[in-house]
């Protein structure tokens, strides 16, 4: 501080040049500006493209939070949610990342993923915590950018970029199909159904399905779809069977497909498959490889086509070669003016007839033209013995009258038909009559004639001269008997009895008698086995018998011969005379009122039988029969057990033959010897005298009337026979057969109905249980079905419990309890 006077200083003015004065520090704001602008630009260019997706509702979609995902990777964010102008739909604006923008073309689909619990499982579980998200799907081919989309509420089955094929199925009943039902091929899930919708005219239900690659390659026009509503009950000759597919298809229904033949035509665009009710129907309705492959023909039948329907087979020697496509009537010009004729339209598959694959209509018609000339005809045939279903059969008949393929411009060529040799019921009845005709009536007549001759010879016999008179009387009485009302009414009675029998047979058929019989037969089988064992010891027995035959029987025979000689010496003539007398006595007997009443008694007896039958029917005879068969079953079992003892029995028998029979023979010999010593002569004499006395009782004045009376008797017999024939016995047989057929028909019908019954699960379960219970408590079928049902029940219970648990505490999904 010693020099306080500061020196005056000259301060130079600051440099005025702005640029030269510029500091490097200005680089900092420039840099900051650059970086900021860079960030701004980057975020602007990265922010993606805004698209608009409209949804019916946007539950859970939050602007700024909800993400758009593609294959579960976030590719965008919802920016805004608002309504359309009329508030009809929700518009969701999604900002999409630039790297996927090129692929968002008009094929892209969007849907909202929400948690869902269904019979097929739980899906979208992650969205419970993270909230819903929008899932998008598009193919991997860049396309023209589209900005507006229709979103769906459920995941679409044919997501773009997913290999496979979308097809349409048409059905009449949509009760068993639902969204997401599986499409199965040999039990493997190869696709899913979409939501069924009604067709424009409301007459059928259409449902789209998506078949995943590579299974879509199996689709062709040969493919048939049918409904598998989980359960399938079938009842047939082989017994009762229950089928069911996967549990999911049990609950939600499912669709199965298969190819009915190879190398089917490829699908045409817009091809609609028919969804059949069951496999049987699907397999039956194969309309010959589509219309392209079948060559149309028509057939005119003179007989009834009752039982034939569209879809039935056309066969050639058992091989399916075509199908009936329709039935119609047409007025044809016949010999006696216009006639209403039945025309059956058929489609024949040329390839099945052995024609080359590329054969067209021309070649096929040419072939048939030739075939018809060489005797090919169409005729009706039954599908099976018991069913009344018909099919059309192509047969080659060398004996057929000449015919040509009738070709009219604009119409299908007409195949000539021949009368069928249907084994239907008319024919069956005919067969029965034939068989009656074939009965050895001729032989009987022959024998009657020879009998007559014998009578004649007998008549020439002096002693027999008096027989005709009594015979005439006898015949008279017989005629009266035959002509009596009671006998006349027998056919009617028989008819009624047969009626009852018919009903009885029907009931027996319905009841479980057959099963019991079966088991009885099984028991019988066992018994047979036992008997078989027994028969092992039979040879020894036979040996004994042979020994007996060799040694002892000649001796006996010799004795007998002696007896015969004695007999020869007797006066047979007298005996004949006595016989005549006896006949007279018989006549008298017949003439008695009591004998006259026999037919009435027979009638009454038949009546009683009928009553009994009716009672039997009324009183649960079938059940009784069933139980008796069961008893028989038991009896057979006993027999089986008993037959175990048969060897011992045989041993006893052998012992007897070895020891006792020789003794017996010896005694027999002694008896024979004694007999020889008796005075048979006296015996015969006394017999003759007795007969003579009887003879005296009868006059012999009517010998000449004998032929007339016999004639009358024969006439009566013929009348009776005619009445028998006319009296409805044949009809009854027919009716019996008819009822058998009805029974078979109703069995067939019930078999057809069974799958339908399965439509409603609950009802089905109840019914099945009833059926099963009636089927016997301990049968295998019962046990298995019950356990299957129990499992289904358990599964349902588990699902409902799971659902309830989730409902009660959604947290349990995360924390386990």
């Amino acid at each position: 501080m010693s020099d306080p006077t500061p020196a005056e200083m000259t301060v130079s003015p600051p440099r005025r040049s702005f640029l030269r004065n510029l500091s490097f520090v200005w680089l900092v704001p420039l840099l900051a500006l650059g970086v900021s602008l860079g960030i701004a630009w980057q975020s602007f260019s990265d922010r993606g493209t805004l698209i608009q997706v409209s949804f019916g509702n946007a539950s859970g979609v939050v602007a700024g939070e909800t993400t758009l995902r593609y294959r579960d990777v976030v590719v965008g964010t919802v920016e805004e949610v608002r309504f359309t102008e009329d508030l009809g739909r929700v518009l969701v604006y999604v900002r999409i990342d630039n790297d996927v923008v090129p692929f968002i073309d008009d094929e892209a689909v969007f849907w909202v993923v929400r948690p869902e619990v269904s019979a097929r499982g739980i899906s979208g579980l992650s969205t419970v915590l993270s909230g819903v998200y929008i899932e998008g799907a598009w193919d991997n081919v860049p396309g023209t950018l589209t900005y507006e989309f229709q979103g769906s509420d459920t995941p679409p089955l044919n997501q773009p970029g997913r290999p496979g094929r979308r097809i349409t199925l048409a059905t009449e009943d949509g009760t068993t199909i639902s969204y997401g039902s599986p499409v199965l091929f040999r039990g493997v899930e190869v696709g899913r159904l979409e939501t069924p919708r009604l067709s424009a005219d409301g007459r059928s239900v259409l449902v789209d399905a998506f078949i995943d690659a590579p299974h879509d390659a199996r689709l062709s026009q040969a493919t048939r779809f049918w409904d598998t509503s989980g359960f399938e009950l079938s009842f047939g000759a082989s017994g009762f069977s229950v089928d069911f597919d996967s549990l999911a298809s049990l609950v939600t229904g499912g669709v199965v497909f298969d190819n009915l033949y190879d190398d089917g035509e490829p699908l045409t665009p817009g091809y609609v498959f028919t969804l059949y009710e069951d496999e049987e129907e699907a397999r039956r309705n194969r309309l010959v490889r589509g219309p392209a492959r079948g060559v149309a023909f028509s057939i005119h039948f003179d007989e009834s086509v009752n039982g034939l329907e569209a879809g039935d087979d056309v066969t050639y020697q058992g091989l399916d070669v075509g199908v009936v496509t329709g039935l119609r009537s047409q007025v044809l010009e016949g010999d006696f003016g216009p006639e209403l004729s039945l025309i059956v339209d058929v489609a024949i598959d040329p390839q099945r007839m052995g024609l080359p694959a590329e054969a067209g209509t021309e070649e096929t018609v040419d072939f048939f033209r030739f075939a018809v000339e060489t005797g090919m005809r169409a005729r009706l045939a039954t599908e099976s013995l018991l069913s009344s279903d018909l099919r059309v059969e192509l047969v080659v008949m060398d004996t057929a009258p000449a015919a040509r393929l009738r070709e009219v411009e604009g119409e299908a060529p007409r195949l000539p038909s021949v009368e069928s040799n249907l084994s239907d019921f008319t024919a069956t009845a005919e067969g029965v009559l034939e068989r009656i005709n074939a009965l050895p009536i001729e032989e009987v007549m022959q024998q009657a004639i020879s009998l007559m001759e014998a009578f004649e010879q007998l008549a020439r016999n002096e002693d027999l001269q008096r027989v005709p008179g009594s015979a005439v009387a006898l015949l008279d009485d017989t005629r009266a008997l035959v002509g009596s009302e009671a006998i006349q009414s027998i056919p009617a009675q028989i008819e009624a009895a047969v009626n009852d029998l018919t009903a009885l047979v029907a009931e027996v058929r319905e009841g479980g008698a057959v099963e019991s019989l079966n088991s009885a037969l099984a028991q019988l089988d066992e018994a047979m086995a036992g008997i078989n064992t027994a028969s092992q010891s039979a040879p020894a027995l036979a040996e004994n018998l042979a020994k007996l035959t060799e040694e002892d029987i000649p001796a006996v025979l010799a004795e007998l011969q002696g007896v015969a000689q004695t007999a020869q010496e007797l006066k047979l003539d007298e005996l004949v005379a006595s016989a005549t007398a006896t006949l007279n006595r018989v006549d008298a007997l017949i003439a008695q009122e009591a004998v006259q009443g026999i037919p009435a008694a027979v009638t009454a007896a038949i009546e009683d039988v009928r009553t009994i039958v009716a009672d039997v029917r009324a009183e649960g005879a079938v059940q009784a029969l069933g139980s008796s068969l069961r008893n028989l079953d038991r009896a057979m079992a006993d027999i089986s057990v008993a037959s175990q003892d048969a060897p011992a029995l045989t041993a006893n028998l052998r012992q007897i033959t070895e020891t006792d029979i020789p003794e017996l023979l010896t005694e027999l010999e002694a008896v024979a010897t004694t007999a020889k010593e008796l005075e048979l002569q006296a015996l015969v004499d006394s017999a003759t005298s007795t007969l003579n006395r009887v003879d005296a009782l009868v006059g012999s004045q009517d010998t000449l009337e004998l032929p007339g009376t016999i004639n009358d008797a024969l006439t009566e017999m013929r009348l009776a026979l005619t009445e028998l024939r006319e009296g409805g016995v044949v009809e009854n047989l027919n009716a019996t057969l008819q009822s058998a057929s009805d029974a078979a028909g109703s069995v067939a019908e019930s078999v057809e109905d069974l799958p339908q019954l399965t439509a409603r699960l609950e009802r089905l379960v109840a019914e099945t249980e009833t059926v099963v219970r009636s089927y016997g408590e301990r049968s295998d079928f019962n046990t298995q079905t019950l356990s299957a049902l129990r499992e289904v029940q358990n599964a349902a219970k588990a699902i409902s419990e799971l659902a309830r648990a989730i409902e009660r505490s959604p947290n349990s999904l995360i924390f386990g309890r």
């Binding site: 500061p6 020196a7 200083m9 301060v11 003015p13 600051p14 004065n21 510029l22 500091s23 520090v25 200005w26 680089l27 900092v28 704001p29 840099l31 900051a32 500006l33 970086v35 900021s36 960030i39 701004a40 975020s43 700024g64 939070e65 992650s126 915590l129 993270s130 909230g131």
Partner: protein, 216 residues
């Protein structure tokens, strides 16, 4: 800061400044040396009588701070992911969120620290710098303003601080995760730049100006 103290002391009397006295004062320790001295012999600071580049630095840092303040407000400060849901919040958005949640006090603190202070800093620095540029004479209140700006500047960092702490602590994977956004960096830079700007300001210019103006 010792420089401030010195300035306060000198304010009282209408005085001869060091520069007028032909001296140069050390900005750090307040020791004065004759003009021409290169470095302070006490603390080694380079001695400048008046830092004529000061204003340029002030303006440059101020502009830089203002530039980065824009993304700091536009871009999200925090990215909060809770149970898979990601929420991004900007500074102002965060304030409104806090108000929505009823934390008005906290909202006020955040708003003051993140919006009011930085903006008023920009305004204050620009005002002072403009006055110096125009040669208008400074008063004591201007100096107080400068002091306040310099003092308060660091408190703006609380927002950045909160973000840094949250990001470090809240990393609970799926349940909750917090990430700093671009705005956090921008805001931190903005605060830093304005502090540098305020620091670059040579307070001596405040009282220097009229005299220089007259002198020149």
């Amino acid at each position: 800061m010792s420089g401030d103290g010195m300035a306060n002391a000198e304010r009282a009397q209408p005085v001869v400044t060091a520069r007028a006295a032909g001296l140069v004062g050390c900005a750090e320790c307040g020791h004065v040396f004759p003009v021409g001295a290169e470095r302070c012999r006490v603390c080694g600071t380079r001695l400048v009588s008046r830092d004529m580049a000061s204003l340029q630095k002030v303006w440059a840092w101020l502009f830089a701070g203002m530039v980065v303040y824009i993304p700091a407000n536009v871009y999200p400060m925090l990215r909060t992911t809770t149970f898979g849901r990601t929420q991004e919040s900007t500074i102002v958005g965060g304030v409104f969120d806090l108000i929505d949640h009823g934390s008005i006090g906290v909202a006020l603190i955040v708003f003051v620290a993140s919006v009011v202070i930085p903006v008023s800093k920009f305004i204050a620095i620009a005002y002072l710098a403009l006055r110096v540029q125009r040669g208008q004479p400074g008063t004591a209140s201007h100096f107080h303003l400068y002091e306040f700006v310099e003092f308060i500047g660091r408190w703006s960092m609380i927002d950045v601080f909160v973000v840094a702490i949250l990001s470090a602590l809240v990393q609970l994977n799926f349940v909750a995760t917090i990430h700093p956004g671009i705005a956090a960096v921008s805001f931190a830079l903005s605060v830093a730049f304005t502090m540098i700007s305020a620091n670059s300001f040579d307070p001596r210019l405040i009282w220097d100006a009229p005299r220089e103006g007259t002198q020149l």
